[in-house]
Amino acid sequence: MAYRWGMAVDLDKCTGCEACVTACHAENNIPTVGSQQAARGRAMHWIRVERYYEGNFPDVRVKFRPVLCQQCDNAPCEAVCPTYAAHQNEDGLNAQVYNRCIGTRYCANACSYNVRFFNFFNPEWVKPLNLQLNPDVSIREVGVMEKCTFCVQRIKAAKITAKAEDRGLVDGVLQPACAQACPTTALIFGDLNDPNSRVARLSHSPRGSKLLEDLGAEPKITYLDKQPWHEPDTY
């Protein structure tokens, strides 16, 4: 059966540390844009950690929420792309074909999650920072839209290895860079079509919800709510 990649994000575990953010940069050759472009809103982070304060000091809390492409089943970005650069692949991934993209940026406008990033310039890696580039991931040029791919290069490599060894994929071994780095294992990645995978089970958790669910984009990422502490009746 085909794979259907999805993720569960356990908000009870995410500490907001942002290991996932740097890991994603390292894996996917995401350029830094520098302070001036960052000030103009052009910094690119395929995964970001939103944090929202509730209340005021001293009765104050914060919610962290890692946000990446939600890999929607009913993706609004795909419908508006005139060149089918944004499309759904056979594994249900919301894929972006860079050499089809002509930079209309319609997709970024249509996306409700603000996870698509436009290359306003050709990326620059001052030598020898270029040596850190991952040869498995293509570099995007000026005028192209980019976004989280669930580390599709890792998925492809794992599928090829599994096929060569004539076996299926083992749940939990294949991980995108963010999930692999996450110290608390707040990010759980896997195959939603495998009912026994951790992600499939967590997607049905009573703690689960989807981001902006009522917009109908049908995201494949489930957010698991923080659990409250229950006072035991020992006193």
Partner: protein, 707 residues
């Protein structure tokens, strides 16, 4: 297949290849030396250790073949070699357990940094002017040997000093050994966010001069007094891994995490309950909780009723916290960060130890324990070389000129040293004062080792060989030190190992705590040994409260740590977890207080202490006490690569020169400041990635929201 089966525990042998460039041009392939364990296009994984903080996380490096522009014998060329492409946590490592923090993920940029020094340098202009000329290794080593021989000739060996980071492990041990043989005093160490006062308290309370490993995974109730243990404090990765497991306990059994502080730090933001406590009184709260646990709550100086006013925590809350702590064991308390940076820090450290003893947390599952450790070399505090300038100073990758208050006058003291040698890989504020720079290999190019002080319940010393060949004409600092020692006119005896690799293969000296020591009862709190520190003294703050109404809370940046990582572009552009700020400095002011003062998000603020002032843009924070302002440490470098120089301001510079009496370390929470709005927002001022602090604007009073 398990990921670890992919890890080849191979280290390439022969770290430098003798290469000669043939004549002129740049980018000429000077030689093709295949590395037999590399197949084009196929990744190999090799183990190493993250060098960016003292935690000592084990990493695995993804090595692939590629073409690198390198320097050999002063000439550039291209060679095909194994190149590190990514770092991951090493699943076989007891500390990192396959994970890394964001800084560890970015550590690869240390090796590939465009401003890394590619060969030895000699000062060619004014001291501190930052002008250096190339010099060969032979000349550089001759120069250093000459300096050392001159000290011996003058019978003035004691005038040699070595300044390093206080990292446990064999590198510092080798340095201490060489210094002793030479006739010099022990190495001097410096770090800004020092936990020395806690080590000292642990030594007195438990007979272990080190930080504890907290068994968060099995704890049911955790109370942290200021420790940013999920962000920047101690072994952040190991602690986060354990925290993740703690949160998995399931319905009904879910542990509680309480954080005590004056600001909602990244760690505090994860707490089930945040307890606001007046700065410098945290230990009183711990003592009051211990008093309730020990059922001495009604009497004594630490009765909840007596500490409530000082701490600002109501009596009922103290009593409830104590009852919860007692009833939901295993319970454990952690102290770190700001409480350990007050003038009365020793009290807070001892108070939390007392609370832990009242909860019987020592050597318990869900409590804390001490990892068996090899005996560490004795060191000296920075103040010793500030007061009496040495004649020759060797500096190993530490930057006290940046990371100390201006009032300590470290730069001035260093300028009085006749000759300074730096082994750093970058020009920074401290190495800019050097006469000679002998750049080290990067950690990926050299033998590395760590003896983690904490993070795992068992001792986890590790050592690994280089994972890639050096890019430049650099040399491993321990090897240079051994080389120099051999070349002295009066050789130092007995025979030394030839290389650091050889030194590392010798067994570590005596292990102080036996691995089975956990079952033996450790020394209990000795009232006589600790009575002085155990007496409550009011925290001293520099600056009169009427004139300087705000507590100043500098904090370690999740991205830039103590400023030593400000040169890495990934970390500069990583949004701060609590503000989403990138590439800049900012001042955190309580949101409501700012409203009263007419300060808006992004306004330019001047923060003034008795020592001076800095300017940065305001971030209106709902999670900071109204009588405090906070600033991240890390920016404000004047000379530290293209990415960090002249960006933002350094809050450490305006700290009062207050120290903790017991240890002589900097009391970085002991300064008061005043603030003034001196300008409006500027589009290049406060650079935020996210912006909004509130999920829905109507949850606030229309403040702090941009969306």
């Amino acid at each position: 297949m398990d990921r670890r089966h992919f890890i080849k525990l191979t280290a390439i042998s022969g770290t430098t290849a003798a290469l000669t460039a043939c004549g002129n041009p740049e980018n000429q392939i000077i030689r093709f030396i295949p590395e037999d364990d590399l197949v084009p296009g196929v990744a190999t994984w090799k183990p190493s250790i993250c060098p960016l903080c003292a935690a000592g996380c084990g990493v695995i490096a993804r090595v692939m073949e590629g073409d690198a522009e390198v320097f050999r014998n002063g000439k550039p060329g291209v060679i095909r070699m194994g190149l590190v492409k990514k770092l991951e946590g090493n699943p076989d490592d007891a500390i990192s357990q396959g994970k890394l923090c964001p800084r560890g993920q970015a550590a690869i940029q240390v090796t590939y940094h465009p401003d890394r020094l590619d060969q030895p340098k000699k000062r060619s202009g004014e001291r501190g002017g930052g002008q250096f000329a190339d010099i060969s290794w032979d000349e550089a080593i001759k120069e250093l040997v000459g300096q050392l021989d001159a000290l011996v000739a003058a019978n003035d060996q004691a005038s040699l000093a070595f300044l390093a980071k206080p990292r446990r492990g064999r590198r510092l041990e080798l340095v201490a050994d060489l210094l002793q043989r030479f006739g010099a005093k022990p190495p001097v160490t410096y770090e800004l966010f020092s936990d020395e006062v806690l080590r000292r308290a642990n030594s007195q309370s438990f007979g272990a001069h080190q930080l504890a490993t907290v068994d968060l995974e099995n704890a049911h109730y955790v109370i942290s007094f200021g420790a940013d243990f999920l962000g920047t404090w101690n072994s952040a990765v190991a602690q986060s891994v354990a925290y993740g497991r703690m949160r998995q306990a399931g319905p009904g059994a879910r542990p509680k995490f309480v954080h005590v502080d004056a600001r909602l730090t990244q760690t505090a933001a994860n707490a089930d309950e945040f307890v606001a406590c007046k700065p410098g009184t945290e230990g009183l709260l711990a003592m009051a909780m211990a008093a309730v646990l020990n059922k001495t709550a009604g009497a004594g100086d630490y009765a909840p009723a007596k500490v409530a006013e000082k701490t600002g925590v109501p009596v009922e809350k103290i009593e409830r916290l104590a009852r919860e702590f007692a009833a939901n064991g295993p319970s454990v308390a952690i102290v770190g960060g700001a409480p350990l940076a007050h003038t009365n820090a020793a009290f807070h450290a001892h108070a939390v130890n007392t609370l832990n003893l009242a909860a019987n947390a020592l050597n318990q599952s869900g409590g804390f324990s001490f990892v068996p450790q090899a005996t560490q070399a004795a060191t000296r505090p920075l103040t010793e070389i500030l007061d009496a300038a040495p004649k020759l100073l060797l500096i190993d990758d530490v930057n006290p000129v940046f990371a100390s208050p201006a009032s300590w006058k470290v730069a001035e003291a260093l300028k009085r040293v006749p000759f300074i040698v730096s082994f750093g890989s970058f020009v920074d504020e401290t190495s800019a004062l050097a006469d000679l720079i002998l750049p080290d290999h990067s950690f990926l190019e050299s033998w590395v080792e760590a003896a983690p002080e904490s993070g795992s319940a068992k001792a986890a010393p590790s050592k690994f060989g280089p994972v890639m060949r050096p890019l430049y004409d650099t040399r491993s600092t321990p090897d240079v030190l051994l080389d120099v020692s051999r070349k002295l006119a009066k050789p130092i005896a007995p025979a030394l190992p030839n290389t650091f690799e050889e030194y590392l293969s010798a067994p570590t000296p005596e292990v102080r705590l036996k691995p089975d020591a956990t079952s033996a009862p450790m020394a209990r709190l000795k009232p006589d040994a600790t009575s002085a520190s155990m007496t409550w003294t009011e925290p001293q703050f520099d600056g009169d409260a009427a004139q300087y109404p705000y507590h100043f809370l500098p904090f370690a940046s999740q991205a830039l740590y103590d400023g030593s990582l400000a040169h890495l572009p990934w970390l500069q552009e990583m949004p701060d977890p609590m503000s989403s700020a990138m590439w800049c400095s900012w001042v955190e002011i309580n949101e409501i207080k700012a409203g009263e003062l007419g300060i808006e998000m992004g306004d330019l603020i001047e923060v003034t202490s008795t020592q001076g002032s800095v300017r940065a843009h305001a971030f209106l924070n709902p999670g900071i006490a109204p009588d405090a302002v906070a600033m991240p440490v890390g920016q404000g470098h004047t000379n530290f690569t293209r990415y960090a120089s002249n960006r933002g301001v350094n809050p450490i510079a305006i700290l009062a020169p207050a120290t903790i009496a017991e240890t002589g370390t900097l009391a970085w929470s002991a300064t008061r400041v005043k603030i003034a709005k001196v300008g409006g927002p500027d589009k290049d001022g406060l650079i935020l990635f996210g912006g909004a602090t509130r999920e829905r604007p109507d949850w606030t009073h229309g403040r702090g929201d941009e969306h």
